[in-house]
């Protein structure tokens, strides 16, 4: 296993955020952590990347215990993260942001820079624009591209679809698959469970700081309990079927709306589907 977390407990003050999570990610996989708000998904990622200290348990990366390693050294070890809420440096240009991604590297990083621009042509168009003035989708692309600049062995993605229009969500997930195909292991945290499960090999379902289920993603997609809790249940099939029976994408869109993504998404959701149909 490339990355193993063993029975980790994490506290915010006295409140336990993680109550013994055990999970593993193998080389070449896309693994998802899904679950509701407050289930501990983001905390798990932050603990892996070293932003939150462990109360107990251990994290093993590449066979080495990194539980006590500070965050900035884990980057060098091969853990790259695109943080929640994107976390771009707003006062730096796109290119400066990407170069910050290679801050810890001493070798030549021009190849990764070219690759980031190739994966996200939009960023290449906006090299000199301040990151703070870009749209949410562009900032998300930048955050992922920046995380890739450190040439990570495992890429941690925290809610890459948050706050994005459905069409962009689709695009981001396609790119995540492409990144994985090029050899980077991905650990994905998502509220958008349907989309996440579709591109993942395996997934863990988190509830209030515990793993309640772990299985291959395809199995979870068919699991009635998971469907009811995170995928909008049977509802999504009924509403989606008459609209566009053959195309898989709209099914996903309906699920996005039904499973409780920010309500603000709705105004552009329907209009997009109309133009599709």
């Amino acid at each position: 296993m490339l990355l193993e977390i063993k029975d980790i407990h994490v506290h915010y003050g006295k409140i336990a955020a993680l109550k013994g999570i055990t999970a593993a990610v193998d080389e070449g996989e896309i693994v998802s952590l899904i679950g509701a708000n407050g289930a501990g998904k983001t905390t798990t990622l932050k603990t892996i990347s070293g932003l939150r200290p462990l109360s107990s348990g251990s994290i093993v990366f590449g066979g080495k215990d990194i539980s006590k390693m500070p965050g900035h050294k884990r980057v060098v070890a091969g853990i790259g993260q695109s943080p929640e809420g994107r976390g771009c440096f707003p006062g730096m240009t796109v290119e400066e942001n990407l170069l910050m991604g290679a801050y810890a590297r001493k070798d030549d990083h021009s190849k990764e820079l070219a690759e980031a621009y190739e994966l996200f042509p939009r960023l290449a168009e906006r090299k000199t624009q301040m990151a703070g003035t870009m749209s949410g989708g562009e900032q998300q692309m930048l955050a992922i591209g920046r995380a890739l600049m450190s040439k990570p062995k495992v890429l941690l993605l925290d809610e890459p679809s948050m706050g994005l229009a459905p069409m962009l969500v689709q695009q981001i997930f396609t790119i995540i698959q492409e990144i994985n195909r090029r050899g980077t292991t991905v650990l994905l945290v998502e509220q958008n469970a349907q989309q996440a499960l579709q591109i993942s090999h395996r997934a863990y379902v988190l509830e209030t700081g515990r793993v309640v289920k772990s299985a291959p993603a395809s199995e979870l997609l068919d699991d009635p309990q998971v469907r009811a809790a995170y995928l909008g249940g049977d509802l999504s099939e009924e509403t989606a079927a008459p609209a566009a029976p053959a195309v898989p994408a709209p099914v996903a869109d309906t699920a996005v709306d039904a499973d409780g993504t920010p309500a603000g998404e709705e105004p552009d959701g329907p209009s997009l589907r109309k133009s599709d149909g």
Binding site: G71, P83, G87, M92, M130, G132, S135
Partner: protein
């Protein structure tokens, strides 16, 4: 949110320095050096009577005002700028380092007979050490929490010297020697290297030298790996750590370097005054230096110099208004912050950060939620709707 951004965030409200900045960026090296040379000549001629008759209102001595107030504030402003402007750490107890510098020369010069230059080096080391001592346990805190702890540190230093018999408690230390005279040579009626009681101008030139060194040093830092690390910490500390920046180490470095500059200011201050007491190091000094940095445009060296100048000079210039001047001064600061929150002369990067809502004081705390600073999720959403 997008609308408000273009109307006041990035575009800047009112007068903008952007055209000037672009011209500057495009100017050839020789032109830049010309401007630097002119600025230095201007600074050297600044204490002259012709300037002083207007600048020092109400019969004050312009050269004394320059050396006792303005240049000290500029030097302290440059030091605090490293902490607040570059690394984005809110420090409300900066006066503590100024005090460490002042008391270092006070003790070592008056009790052990060390001379000025020796104590200067020692004071720089001591204040940097004080910066590390304050930073090591507290820099895990962020934003407003850090501000409160530093505020406490400033008070601790003041209260400690106030209650220490060794440094005469509230009476302070007297009889601190002036710096030794380096040369008696005279030019245009000034002996710039003869440090005595009567003429303030040599101290002004000494501080001017310190300021120039501080500017060169800060500029070098800004463009280095250290500067980039500070910028990333200021803009988003968690993200900086995720980029492999050892954030704690760099925050500590910012504290130590800022403190060292503050300490050097304290040494010159004490040597000029020949006596110091705890009342020289009140919270008001910390507050005014911070006001100078923020008012001028934190992170931008010319802005900080301008801000420090305004903060030090305005209340003195309008001394004839007596008690009302502080009231007017306060109102002026408030008006400024309403209409130009990014400062008189902000850096471009800083303006973009402010527009994003963190104000560059780190990603947690020290940030005031307003209509413009919606959470990241909603921000992304609004941006997407535009397409």
């Amino acid at each position: 949110m997008n609308l408000s951004k273009t109307s006041k965030g990035i575009g800047g409200r009112g007068f903008s320095f952007d055209p000037l900045r672009d011209r500057w960026a495009a100017a050839p090296g020789s032109a830049r050096w010309g401007v630097y040379a002119l600025l230095i000549v201007g600074a050297i001629l600044l204490p002259s009577e012709a300037v002083g008759s207007f600048m020092a209102g109400g019969g004050g001595d312009w050269a004394t005002l320059l050396s006792d107030q303005i240049t000290i504030y500029i030097l302290l402003g440059l030091g605090l700028n490293i902490v607040v402007g570059m690394a984005g750490l809110l420090d409300l107890g900066y006066v503590a380092f100024y005090a460490v510098g002042g008391y270092t020369i006070g003790i070592f010069a008056s009790k052990f007979g060390w001379h000025f230059w020796e104590t200067l080096i020692l004071a720089i080391l001591f204040s940097a050490l004080a910066g590390v001592l304050l930073g090591a346990p507290t820099l895990r805190l962020r934003g407003d929490y850090l501000a409160i702890v530093t505020l406490g540190f400033g008070e601790i230093v003041k209260k400690t010297v106030n209650n220490t018999q060794y440094v005469n408690g509230p009476r302070g230390i007297q009889g601190i020697p002036h710096p030794p005279t380096l040369s008696e040579f005279e030019i245009l009626g000034v002996q710039p290297l003869k440090y005595g009681l009567l003429d303030s101008r040599p101290y002004y030139y000494l501080l001017l030298l310190f300021i120039i060194v501080a500017i060169i040093f800060t500029k070098r830092m800004e463009r280095s790996r250290v500067g980039r690390a500070w910028a990333s910490i200021r803009e988003d500390e968690d993200a900086a750590e995720l980029m492999g920046v050892p954030t704690f180490k760099f925050k500590l470095a910012a504290f130590a370097l800022g403190a060292a500059i503050g300490g050097s200011g304290g040494v010159v201050f004490a040597a000029k005054q020949t006596s110091i007491n705890p009342e020289n190091f009140t919270f008001l000094v910390s507050a005014l230096i911070l006001a100078a940095v923020v008012l001028g445009g934190s992170g931008n060296i010319p802005g900080v110099i301008l801000g420090a100048f305004v903060v030090a000079w305005l209340p003195e210039r309008f001394r004839e208004l007596s008690d009302y001047r502080m009231l007017i001064f306060g109102l002026a600061l408030m008006t400024m912050m309403i209409f130009r929150p990014e400062g008189l002369w902000p850096s471009r990067q800083r303006k973009a950060e402010l527009a994003e809502g963190t104000g560059g004081m780190g990603s947690m705390g020290a940030e005031v939620a307003g209509p413009d600073t919606a959470g990241p999720g909603t921000a992304g959403h609004t941006a997407e709707v535009g397409k």
